[in-house]
Amino acid sequence: MAINIEKIREDFPILSRSVNGKPLTYLDNAATTQKPQTVIDAIVDYYTNYNSNIHRGTHHLSNLATEAHEAARNTIKDYINARHDREIIFTRGTTEAINLVASSFGQAFIKPGDEVIVTELEHHSNFVPWQMICERQGAHFRVVPFDENGDLQLDVLEKLLSDRTRILAFNHVSNSLGTVNPAKEIIKMAHDAGAAVLVDAAQSVQHIEHDVQDLDADFYAFSGHKIYGPTGIGVLYGKEKWLDAMPPYQGGGEMIDQVSVEKTTYNKIPFKFEAGTPNIVGPIGLAAAIDYINNFNFDELIAHEDDVLQYGFEKLGEIDGLKIYSQAKRHTSIIAFNVEGIHHYDLGTLLDTQGVAVRTGHHCTQPIMTALGVEGTVRASLALYNTKADIDSLVAAIRKALKMLGK
C-alpha cells in the first residue's frame, strides 16, 4: 500500500482532537505514540468477546485468549525476525526487559572483577540496572562517551572491550538526541571480544531496521506503546542459548514445572521468565499495531519520516538563537534543541497552550545533559503520521512563544 498520510492520520482518532482550543500537533512520539483504531478495536474486542485467563484453561474462552496471546508472540517474532517464538518474552516494557537481563544474566555470568559496558547516550533504564548489578556482583561499570556531534566514540569502546567484558548494553537510537548508533559494527566489536550484547530498541524498532538476526543481538528490548501499541507491554528477545542458561527473574505461577517443599523446577522458555498471570491483552494490542505497520512498505514509511525530519532541521535551523543538539552521522525521528536565553520549560509550556505537544527536561538522560552542559532540552519527536504541516505548526508556535518571552 502506498503511503497516503492523510489516510493514515484518519486511522488515529486522537489526532483529530483539539487541545487548548487549538488543533493538536503531536510531536511527543518518543515518549509514547498514538494508537490506530485497529489497536483500540483489538483491545475492546478482547474484553468484549473473549477475556479469560490463559494457558491453563479448559474452556472455550480460555482457548481463544491463549491462541490470540500466542499468535501475538508469533507476529512479534516475525516483525523482528527472531528464530523462534520461545525467544520472545513479554515484559511490562523496555525497562523491565533490561532489568530482567541485568538481574538474570548478571546472576549467572557476571562475577567479581568482571566488566559491564554501557554508553553515555543511554536512557537511565539502560544505565541504572547495570550499575545496580555491577554493585551487587562486584563488577566494574564502564561508560563509552559520545563526541561533540552526538556520535559514540567507538575508539574508546575498542579500548574498553576486553576478556573481562561480560556484556555491552547500548541503545540503537538515542531517545534524547536521535543518534542512530552503528549497531551491527558495535555488536561485532563486542562479540569479537567475547562479550554478549543487549540492544535497547525502544526508539529504533518503529523507525529503522529491526532484524535481530541480521544485527546478531543477544538481547533486544522494546516497548509496545512506542510502536503504536498499548502501554504495559514490552518485549525482550533473547537468543535461546542465553535464555536457557539464565535463572528465572521472578517466581510464581506460569514459570514453574513442578513445585514441592524440597525443590521447584522451572518451566521452559519463554514461560520461565513470565511469572504470574501475564498482561494478556497487551500482546494482542501490540500485534494489532505491528499488523497495522505491516500494511505499508516499511522503507516508504521511513523515507516519509526522514523527509519530515530533514524539513524540521531546516525550518528550526532558521530560528535565531535556536541550537540543535544532535549532528550525528545518522539520525532519526528526534530533534533536540534549546533557544538561547530561554528556559526549556517556558518554551514547552507556551507550545502546549498553542496545541503543540513536545517534551521538555532531561529525558531521563542526565549523563547526556551533563555532557552537553545543559539542564534540559526541548525535544520534538516524530512518528509515521507526522507531516511537514506539523513542523510548520511547531515553528510558528516557537516564534510566538519567543515573542511572549521577550525575544
Binding site: H343, H344, Y345, D346, T349, T353, G361, E375, M404, G406
Partner: protein, 141 residues
C-alpha cells in the same frame, strides 16, 4: 496590609480580565520579569527548591511572627508563579500562612492548566513556605 484571602481575590479578579491562556501566560511572564532581582547572596544552595524541570531560589525571613519571602527562578513562568505566591504570603503573620486556604490556583484555573505543577516546583515552593511559617510560629527560626 490586605489579608491572604483579599489578595487571592484580587489575583482571581486580575485573571478574570484575561480570558485567553496566552494572555494569562503573558501576564505571568510579566509578573516574573517585574519581580525585584534576588540579591546574589540569596541564590545559595540552601535556598534552592528543586522542581524536576526548573530551579527556584526561595529566601525566607521570620520577624515578629511574620514571614517574608523573596524568590527567583531560571524559568520565567515559574518566576511569575513565585511572584504570585510572594504577593499572597510575604509579610503575612505565620499563623495566617499556615491556616490559609489556597484558592486562587483553582479559581484562576492555573491548577488545571499547569498540568505539570509537580514538576515545575510550585508544590515544593508552597510546602517550603508553609513549613517555614510553622517554624516561625514556633519560634524555631
Amino acid at each position: 496590609m490586605a489579608s491572604i484571602q483579599e489578595i487571592q481575590n484580587s489575583i482571581i479578579e486580575d485573571f478574570s480580565f484575561l480570558p485567553e491562556w496566552d494572555e494569562r501566560y503573558a501576564y505571568l511572564i510579566e509578573l516574573g520579569q517585574k519581580m525585584d532581582p534576588l540579591p546574589e547572596a540569596y541564590r545559595s544552595e540552601a535556598n534552592i527548591v528543586r522542581g524536576c524541570q526548573s530551579t527556584v531560589w526561595l529566601h525566607r525571613e521570620c520577624q515578629e511572627d511574620k514571614v517574608y519571602f523573596k524568590a527567583d527562578s531560571d524559568s520565567l513562568i515559574v518566576k511569575g508563579l513565585a511572584a504570585l505566591l510572594m504577593q499572597v504570603f510575604s509579610g503575612q503573620p505565620a499563623e495566617q500562612v499556615l491556616k490559609a486556604d489556597l484558592t486562587f490556583f483553582e479559581e484562576t484555573g492555573l491548577n488545571k492548566h499547569l498540568s505539570s505543577q509537580r514538576t515545575n516546583g510550585l508544590i515544593a515552593m508552597i510546602e517550603e513556605i508553609q513549613s517555614f511559617a510553622a517554624k516561625c510560629k514556633n519560634g524555631e527560626v
